[in-house]
Subunit: 305 residues, 2 copies
DNA sequence: TGCGTCTATAACCTGGCGGCATGGATGTGG
DNA sequence: CCACATCCATGCCGCCAGGTTATAGACGCA
C-alpha cells in the first residue's frame, strides 16, 4: 500500500494542530485541499483517524497510533535523502554550500580559499538561494552547509555557529524624505510600505519586517520579492522600504537606493549551519568559517565601516 | 521533499533486478512507465542513481546508498500501517480474518465458534478476498489473519501453519468428454483451455495451471476470472477447465460443472497465516484453527469423501 | 437573529501516471 | 553483412488526483 510522504506530513500537522484550518495555513495549502487529503488517507487505510466536530479534529485511537510513529518515519526518510545526496557530492569531491545573498560577505572568498588549502582535491560549490528558501537548501539536503542570516526558520534542527553580528539598517528610495537623515528611529518607519519576502517564509518574513518591534502596528506590504535584484528594483522604484544588514550597503549599493542606520531594531547575525556533524569535510569547512571568517569579516568590517 | 513509496518500491526492484524490462514485469507496469518513474526519482533527488547501458541499469555510488536503505524504510512503513490498522480493529474488538473462497471449509464455522468461546467480547469479521489478492489482505495489513491455499506468493513473509492437505481435482463442463471418466491423468488436460487467475497474481496463477507439471507445455488460457462465481460460470459455459481442491466439489457444486479426481498433480493445502505473532488474540485464533480446524476438517472430509 | 468558527462539498483546471507504439543504440547469429 | 534480439528512451493520449475558489452546513455565542 503506497502513500506519498506529503500525506503523512499533512496528517502529522493536522494531528498536532487539532484544527484543519490552522493546519492548512501552516502547510500553505487551502483548507478544502487538506480536508480531501486527510479523507484520502483515511480511505487508503480504511481507518477513521479523526473525530470531527466544530471544535476541530481530534485523533481517534488508531489515529493516535499513527501520529506517534509518523514523525520517525519522516525523519528516517529525510536522513536517507541526506545520505543519498551526500553520497553523490562526496563521490564527486564537492562540498555544496548554500547561501542567502545577504549572508555572503567579504570573508566568503577567504573561507573558500582556506577550505581549499585544508582539503586539496575538494571543490566548493556555492549555491545562491532565494528568500523563499530561507534554509538555502539545507532543509532538502541539497547542500552540506549553508551561510545564513540568523535567526532562520528551523534553526533548531541544525548545527549552527554564529560568524558575526551586525546592526540592521534600512534601505530606502534615495528620493525618500528620510533618506536625507543620518539616523532613523524604527518607530518612524512603522507606517511606511515595506518590501517583504513571500508569505511562505513564515516568521522569517516577519523578522525582516520586525513585526515584533512594532508594538502591534501591522506592517504595510508594498511589494513581495524573492531575490536581491527584485528587491533593489522594488525599493528604487519606490514600492517600499526594507530593513537590511549593514553590509548590504556595501554589497548591494545601487543608484536610487540609500542605506541608513536604524535605532530600535535588534541586530542580525550571519551564521554557518549544517546537518551532518559526523562529516569531517563539513567540519573542516565550519572550522574555516570560524577561523578566517570571524577575523576576516570583522577585519573587513572595521575597514569599511 | 516528498516521495511516493511507490517510487521507492519501483527503485528498489530496478536496483535489485538491474534491468528495467524485467523490473517492469515484476511490478506489473509497462517498461516506459518505469523509465519515467526512475527518471523522476533521479530528478527529484537531483542525483543520478543508475548508469544506463544496453547491458541494463547499474547503480551509481549514491544509488547504492539509497538502495541499501530503502528496504528498511518500506518495511518500517508497512509496520506502521499494520499497527495503525490493528489499533482500529483492536479498539473495536474485532479480529479481521481474510480468506480465499476455496480456503474456507466445513471447519470454518467451528473455528469461529471456538474463538468466540475463547475470547468472549470479540467478534470475528470474515472477509472474502478475490483471486487477485492471493494473500487475502495480509499484504496490506487489512486482516489480522488469513485462511489461504498454500503455497501463496509472499508466504515466506508471514507465519504460516498448515491446517489440512487435499488433492487437486479438475472442474470441467459437464458436457466435456472427460467428465464421463472416473479419474483423469493430468497429462490428458495439457491441451485443454484453462480458466485462470489474473496475470498479476504471478506464480499463484501458475500454480493453479500446474505449469510445473506440464513438462514445458504452455497452458492455454480460455478465460480469466477473479471470483468463484465468475469461475464457475466460465467453466459451465465451456470457456475452459480448471484445477480445484477436492473440497470445491462440495462447496462449489453447480449444474453444468463436474469435478473429477486428477492424477499427476501435487496436492494443495489450506493454511492459516498471520503477520503479528505478538498479538495474543491472533495467537488464540491460530490455536483455534489448529485445534478444531484440523480434527474438524478431517472429520468432515472423511464424512463426505 | 446574525456572526464567527469549524469542516464538507461543488465546479473547475492542471499536471502527472499509465498505456501503446515506436525509435535508437548495440551486440549476436545465420 | 544483414536481420534480429535486447535494452532503454520518446511521443502521444486518456484519465485521475491534487490544487484552487466559492459556498454550504453545523453549531455556539452575543
Amino acid at each position: 500500500m503506497d502513500v506519498d510522504t506529503r500525506l503523512l506530513r499533512y496528517f502529522a500537522v493536522v494531528a498536532e494542530e487539532g484544527n484543519l484550518t490552522r493546519a492548512a495555513q501552516r502547510l500553505f495549502v487551502s483548507q478544502p485541499a487538506l480536508t480531501k487529503q486527510v479523507k484520502q488517507l483515511e480511505n487508503l487505510l480504511g481507518v477513521r483517524l479523526f473525530t470531527r466536530s466544530r471544535a476541530g479534529m481530534a485523533l481517534t485511537e488508531p489515529g493516535r497510533t499513527l501520529a506517534e510513529r509518523v514523525p520517525a518515519l519522516l525523519t528516517d526518510w529525510d536522513r536517507v535523502l541526506r545520505d543519498t545526496k551526500g553520497a553523490a557530492s562526496r563521490a564527486a569531491r564537492v562540498l555544496r554550500v548554500g547561501f542567502l545573498a545577504s549572508a555572503a560577505n567579504e570573508a566568503t572568498p577567504e573561507i573558500i580559499a582556506a577550505f581549499a588549502r585544508r582539503r586539496p582535491g575538494w571543490r566548493v560549490e556555492m549555491r545562491q538561494a532565494t528568500w523563499s528558501n530561507p534554509s538555502a537548501g539545507l532543509s532538502d539536503s541539497d547542500v552540506d552547509a549553508a551561510l545564513l542570516r540568523l535567526p532562520f526558520p528551523g534553526q533548531e534542527n541544525w548545527h549552527v555557529e554564529v560568524l558575526l553580528t551586525e546592526p540592521r539598517w534600512v534601505a530606502l528610495p534615495s528620493a525618500h524624505p528620510l533618506a536625507a537623515r543620518d539616523r532613523i528611529e524604527f518607530r518612524e518607519l512603522w507606517d511606511e510600505p515595506f518590501v517583504a519576502a513571500a508569505p511562505e517564509t513564515g516568521w522569517w518574513r516577519d523578522y525582516w519586517l520586525a513585526t515584533d518591534e512594532r508594538e502591534g502596528t501591522r506592517p504595510r506590504i508594498g511589494a513581495v520579492t524573492d531575490t536581491p535584484d527584485d528587491w533593489l528594483s522594488a525599493i528604487a522604484n519606490g514600492y517600499g522600504i526594507a530593513l537590511a544588514p549593514e553590509s548590504a550597503a556595501r554589497f548591494y549599493a545601487r543608484p536610487g537606493v540609500t542605506y541608513r542606520p536604524v535605532d530600535g531594531v535588534t541586530p542580525t547575525q550571519v551564521g554557518v549551519a549544517w546537518a551532518d556533524d559526523t562529516n569531517p569535510v563539513v567540519r573542516d569547512f565550519v572550522k574555516c568559517c570560524l577561523g578566517c571568517g570571524a577575523s576576516g569579516a570583522l577585519h573587513a568590517e572595521g575597514h569599511q565601516a
